[in-house]
């Protein structure tokens, strides 16, 4: 049997494939078993977004910008589904746009199943305006004239004739803009939509990006923020729709605890093996 010191030293050379295997099992088991932890406290920024949508009068248009690609779907798609459900179930109009080329498919994947479930009609209750090049220019142009920026929707229907776009000329006619993003797109919406046109703006971003947007929450340039999978789970809880967000939080809880355990074990090995003294010399 190894002496305790050698055992800890050995810990430092733990095969990484075993770590991979432990993480894979830890993430998969909650999904396969459907094990769900009760939702904890709701973050204030999530609650603010929920309350803002609750306060909108019926048929108010809400714009969602789907600025993410399939790589971020696990974190952001649950937000999109929960938001689409909230907006359409409250009889608000949903206008989908995107600044990224993969966005139209993300929008369809989020809105179509919800609209079908709630009996909402494309062109009347919701519309996917699709992708246009331009980024900041497109955002600014919509502030002046949305139908000029988007003469047709993603299916080729003229926006002039769509009932969902009736009375929608520019940001003055939009109740709220929500940017779901895995890129720096919320920055574009802040600078080119919120600041010049004073439109209410919120965002849903991946967990690693969330820290970038806290300064804009404090200044009031953004009124709400969904922060990664936790934000998605919180929103699902608020709208009463259990989905991938709430289910994913169990897997994320286990994964986070495991990573913390690995960090502790790694540090125990580091200090007990005397490596820290060797490195200090």
């Amino acid at each position: 049997m190894l002496p305790p010191m050698a055992m800890w030293e050995k810990l430092l050379y733990f095969d990484r494939r075993i770590i991979f295997l432990i993480i894979a099992v830890a993430v998969l088991v909650p999904f396969l078993t459907g094990w769900m932890l009760p939702q904890g406290k709701i973050t204030a920024t999530t609650q603010h977004l929920f309350d803002a949508i609750e306060a909108l009068p019926p048929r108010t248009p809400v714009m969602i910008s789907f600025d993410y690609s399939p790589s971020s779907m696990p974190e952001i798609q649950p937000m999109a589904l929960a938001l689409a459900h909230h907006i359409l179930s409250r009889n608000l109009r949903l206008v989908a746009v995107t600044l990224v080329v993969t966005g139209p498919q993300m929008a369809d994947a989020a809105i179509m199943p919800v609209a079908e479930k709630l009996g909402k009609q494309e062109g009347v209750d919701w519309v996917n305006l699709g992708f246009k090049t331009g980024g900041a220019v497109l955002v600014t142009q919509m502030g002046e004239d949305i139908k000029r920026a988007y003469p047709a929707d993603a299916r080729g229907n003229s926006t002039q004739n769509l009932p969902v776009m009736a009375g929608v000329h520019n940001y003055d006619d939009i109740g709220l803009i929500i940017d779901l993003a895995s890129s720096a797109a919320p920055g574009t919406w802040i600078v080119y939509a919120h600041d010049p046109y004073d439109i209410k703006l919120a965002a849903g971003v991946t967990g690693v990006m969330a820290a970038d947007y806290y300064p804009f929450l404090q200044t009031g340039q953004m009124m709400g923020l969904l922060n990664g999978l936790k934000g998605a789970a919180e929103y699902e809880y608020l709208v009463g729709q259990t989905g991938f967000g709430l289910l994913g939080m169990s897997a994320q809880s286990v994964a986070h605890l495991l990573i913390i355990l690995f960090v502790i074990l790694g540090n125990i090995g580091y200090f007990t093996s005397g490596r820290h003294r060797r490195q200090q010399r």
Binding site: I19, D108, V137, L138, Q141, P215, K230, A233, F262, Q279
Partner: protein, 212 residues
């Protein structure tokens, strides 16, 4: 002339946008909207240029039998397949293009992204050491934020990890981020002025920086 004309166009366009911001005359407002259409058209051409560059890079790689050139084949074939299905059947829901997007591109991208979890766990185990006061501080903060991001920490009664994590994000984290943002904003203004005045020319090609 190859440099002077683009610099002159850049100066005139930039100067016009600056002037129109401060002059609410109808001529400026209309021209401003007109320019937006131009920018979107130029943006579409940029996509074509990007495609041309992609093709050139991968064809060169295949022609010269560079290492891993097999992946260039995969890129070009994938592009051709998506292009043909998109052009022939359209990109609307329930088309072949849509099917390929949902059943090939989406799982592939999600798989690559999900590998991060494995590498993060392994990296945390091997490199996240309390080697110094700063490293210990970073480690402690990371643990608090990680616990604050999951509901399981609500079962711990003696520390409110949720609130602690929010405080870290919205006070010290935000202060640091704001400093970075101010620095970036000043850099953007300086670069914009350099481009407008023709001092910064690296965007015109040739790889050279600006002359001072």
């Amino acid at each position: 002339m190859r440099l002077q004309i683009p610099i002159a166009i850049g100066f005139l366009a930039g100067f016009f946008m600056l002037v129109q911001f401060f002059v609410p005359h109808q001529f400026f407002q209309q021209s401003y909207l007109e320019l937006f259409d131009w920018v979107k058209i130029i943006g579409a051409f940029a996509l074509v240029l990007g495609l041309g560059s992609l093709f050139r890079t991968h064809i060169d790689k295949i022609r010269n039998r560079r290492p891993d050139h097999i992946y260039s084949f995969v890129t070009l074939i994938s592009f051709a397949v998506m292009f043909v299905f998109g052009i022939v059947y359209g990109v609307k829901p329930h088309t072949s293009f849509d099917w390929l997007f949902k059943n090939v591109q989406t799982p592939l991208e999600a798989t690559v992204f999900s590998l991060l979890a494995f590498f993060m766990a392994s990296a945390a185990y091997r490199t996240f050491r309390a080697r110094s006061v700063e490293a210990t501080l970073l480690l402690t903060v990371a643990v608090i934020v990680m616990l604050g991001r999951v509901p399981i920490s609500d079962y711990v009664s003696f520390v409110d990890f949720h609130e602690a994590s929010e405080w870290i994000m919205s006070v010290p984290g935000m202060a640091a981020k704001r400093g970075i943002l101010l620095g970036v904003a000043l850099g953007v203004v300086a670069t914009a002025l350099r481009i407008l005045l023709g001092i910064e020319r690296s965007h015109l090609g040739g790889g050279g920086g600006g002359s001072s």
